[in-house]
């Protein structure tokens, strides 16, 4: 215990005398907390898109049967997803995209109302992209999602128009076309009229059989046209989504982002500190002196692991508290957060100590720590559906033998009550701590 206290005091004193490191340990959680907090609490920025509407104002309203469609309404919908930059011509729109002042251009051609009114052909808008793949994808997604919404609204209106035509065919009424008004009889009234004519004919009249056939047709038409209205309604929105999560509690993306941010911070602080502190013992040539019966390998490794984990947890907890200023967090679960951070911190520190035991210089240890830890983050975040089954199995194995995935699961369970449970994740971390401790002891053998 005396030796452990002496070593802890020594390492804390050395850390305190490394001003850059101390500044980093204070500034890092504050900066990350503010950045993540702002990112999660503020609405996303809308991409700048050059916008040209070539539809003359007088033609902005399209007449479809008895319905009027105001195209400017869809314009406003679209402007919620993009920041429009009005331009005067197609050439100017292209120039803006080319010189990068906008990352895309959206052009509404003058014939759009005509194409919509015809209801017989698809109406087109033109989108011109520039910029990198991420920007293009962002604008493409924004515009396509808004166009999908507009299409859905239009489909509903077209369905309405089709309904009114079917009603006219069924029940009859006034039809306004090219400035004239026509009285349409309708199938129901036609059938009634035919029945009356049939009744007025002598029983032996040869016309009765022919009228009966027409009357029968009218009856069938009435029945099936009524059904076709439901079919048209379904075509307007053929598939709707009903969501259900089958395993565990669903973690909202924002809350998951908080867990990822905490896990990444914990990982970097613990791995870098633990690997650096042990490598420093070799760099200062003190390892041989300590191992000459003054301090056992187990005590030395435990001291580095505990110190790095405690500092990592302190930094990450401070960061989480900072994020809590921007994003609502369940503070009643703070004890579980600390438990998860403790497990994760010890596992990361154990990995860091193993790295420190393998190399002889602090710089080499830091470099190796970064090289090991960064890919682990990316691997742990690969969605299962995005790669082949075999590759995903390989990724799962790699993620399982390093602590990031397990630490992230523990933090997600502690913060968001997600699955797998905190106990399972902590058991996984405990196994990893034991494994890395054994590896470190082997590496420290003279």
């Amino acid at each position: 215990m005396i030796a452990l206290r002496a070593l802890l005091g020594k390492d804390l004193r050395i850390l305190r005398r490394s001003p850059a490191l101390v500044a980093l340990l204070i500034v890092y959680p504050v900066a990350i907390a503010v950045l993540i907090g702002l990112a999660l609490s503020s609405s996303p920025a809308r991409p700048r898109v050059a916008f040209l509407n070539e539809i003359p104002p007088s033609q902005a309203i399209v007449q479809l049967g008895s319905e009027q469609i105001d195209t400017t309404r869809y314009e406003h919908e679209l402007f919620q997803a993009i920041q429009p930059v009005p331009v005067g011509s197609v050439a100017q729109a292209v120039a803006d995209v080319r010189d990068g002042s906008t990352i895309a251009a959206l052009i509404i051609p003058p014939q759009l109302p005509e194409e919509l009114a015809s209801a017989a052909q698809t109406a087109y808008v033109q989108v011109i992209y520039n910029g990198n793949a991420i920007n293009q994808s962002l604008v493409q997604t924004a515009i396509e999602s808004k166009l999908a919404q507009a299409n859905a609204l239009l489909a509903a209106q077209l369905s309405h128009v089709a309904d009114s035509y079917i009603d006219l065919l069924l029940s009859g009424g006034a039809l306004h076309f090219l400035g004239n008004t026509y009285d349409v009889l309708g199938l129901v009234r036609a059938r009634t009229a035919l029945a009356a004519i049939e009744a007025s004919l002598p029983p032996s009249s040869p016309l009765r059989r022919r009228i009966a056939r027409v009357e029968n047709f009218a009856q069938i038409a009435v029945t099936h046209f009524s059904g076709s209205k439901r079919v048209i309604g379904a075509v307007a929105a053929p598939i709707a989504v009903r969501q259900r999560v089958v395993s565990g509690r669903r973690t909202p993306l924002n809350d998951y982002a908080v867990a990822v941010a905490v896990a990444v911070s914990l990982m970097f602080v613990c791995i870098l500190l633990a690997s650096g502190m042990l490598a420093l013992e070799r760099e200062e040539n003190t390892l041989g002196r300590l191992r000459r019966g003054l301090v056992s390998a187990g005590l030395l490794l435990s001291e580095k692991t505990i110190l790095a984990a405690v500092l990592g947890v302190a930094v990450s907890f401070a960061m989480l508290c900072g994020i809590g200023l921007f994003v609502p967090l369940g503070w009643s679960r703070a004890a579980l957060w600390l438990l998860a951070m403790g497990g994760g911190g010890l596992a990361f520190a154990a990995l860091g100590v193993a790295i420190g035991a393998l190399v002889h210089e602090v710089r080499a240890a830091s470099l190796l720590a970064l090289l090991v830890s960064l890919p682990l983050v990316f691997l742990a975040l690969v969605p299962s559906a995005s790669v082949s089954a075999g590759l995903y199995d390989a990724i799962r194995v790699i993620s399982a033998i390093f602590p990031f995935k397990a630490a992230l699961e523990a933090l997600d369970a502690a913060i968001n009550q997600s699955q797998p449970s905190l106990a399972i994740a902590l058991a996984h971390l405990a196994a990893l701590i034991a494994g890395f401790a054994a590896l470190s002891r082997i590496a420290l053998r003279p």
């Binding site: 004193r13 050395i14 005398r17 200062e284 002196r289 000459r292 003279p446």
Partner: protein
């Protein structure tokens, strides 16, 4: 009175034999120099005597009182800690009852009192080596082991270092040191061990080695001795 005795000490690293069947003894207040070409096994032998390496075979009899102090070849101190902090840390790790008194004693003996609060990283090479030795001596060991203690020092610093070590020897501390400097071995050691390829080739006084080669200059005698034995 014997302070330290090695009987048939050997050390293997895999297939390689670093030290083979080395035996010697060191009396109280004696100074022993271990000399030999590079790779002879000098540091390995000292590390086994210091307890940093486990011998593969052989027996080591250490002093029952006082223990062994170890001064590695490269300064093994924390450069971000002050002189006094380094001494206090190792005093506590050595489980010395009154660590502060031990620190005061070593500051006095090494003449580093004026630099006690300075970070070791800001000291000269000579002063760092004094801190290095002071840490080895802080537990007042019966035997002090030094691995090339004066390798990085200028002649003036070297003379001051040996004055300090000789004071300890006069107080009864036994000293064993490895060196490439044959003149240093001749000047300060009463007994020398010549190692080559892990084998002990000679154990005796410096004068004895010169006499064996009929050579008054010890360095020439040492080279001739090794050459005759194919090293």
């Amino acid at each position: 009175m014997t302070s330290l005795e090695a009987i048939g000490l050997s050390k293997r690293f895999g297939e390689r034999v670093a030290v083979r069947d080395v035996s010697f003894s060191l009396g109280r207040g004696e100074v022993l120099a271990i000399i030999g070409p590079n790779g002879a096994g000098k540091t390995t032998l000292l590390s086994m005597l210091a307890g940093g390496l486990e011998p593969t075979a052989g027996e080591l009899r250490l002093p029952t009182l006082g223990g062994v102090g170890w001064v590695p070849q490269q300064t093994a101190v924390y450069t971000k800690l002050s002189v006094a902090e380094n001494l206090r840390l190792f005093a506590r790790l050595e489980r010395i009852a009154d660590a502060d008194a031990a620190v005061e004693r070593m500051l006095e003996q090494t003449g580093l009192r004026a630099r006690a609060a300075d970070e070791v990283g800001r000291l000269s090479g000579g002063n760092r080596q004094r801190v290095n030795i002071a840490i080895g001596l802080i537990s007042e060991p019966a035997v002090l082991l030094l691995d090339e203690p004066s390798a990085a020092l200028d002649p003036r610093q070297r003379a001051r270092l040996w004055d300090f070590i000789n004071d300890r020897v006069s107080a009864g501390t036994s000293v064993a040191f490895a060196t490439h400097d044959i003149a240093e071995a001749e000047r300060y050691a009463g007994q020398i061990l010549v190692l080559a390829d892990g084998e002990l080739l000679f154990a005796g006084s410096p004068a004895g080695l010169g006499a064996a080669e009929h050579e008054s200059d010890l360095e020439r005698a040492f080279v001739a001795f090794l050459t005759e034995r194919g090293h």
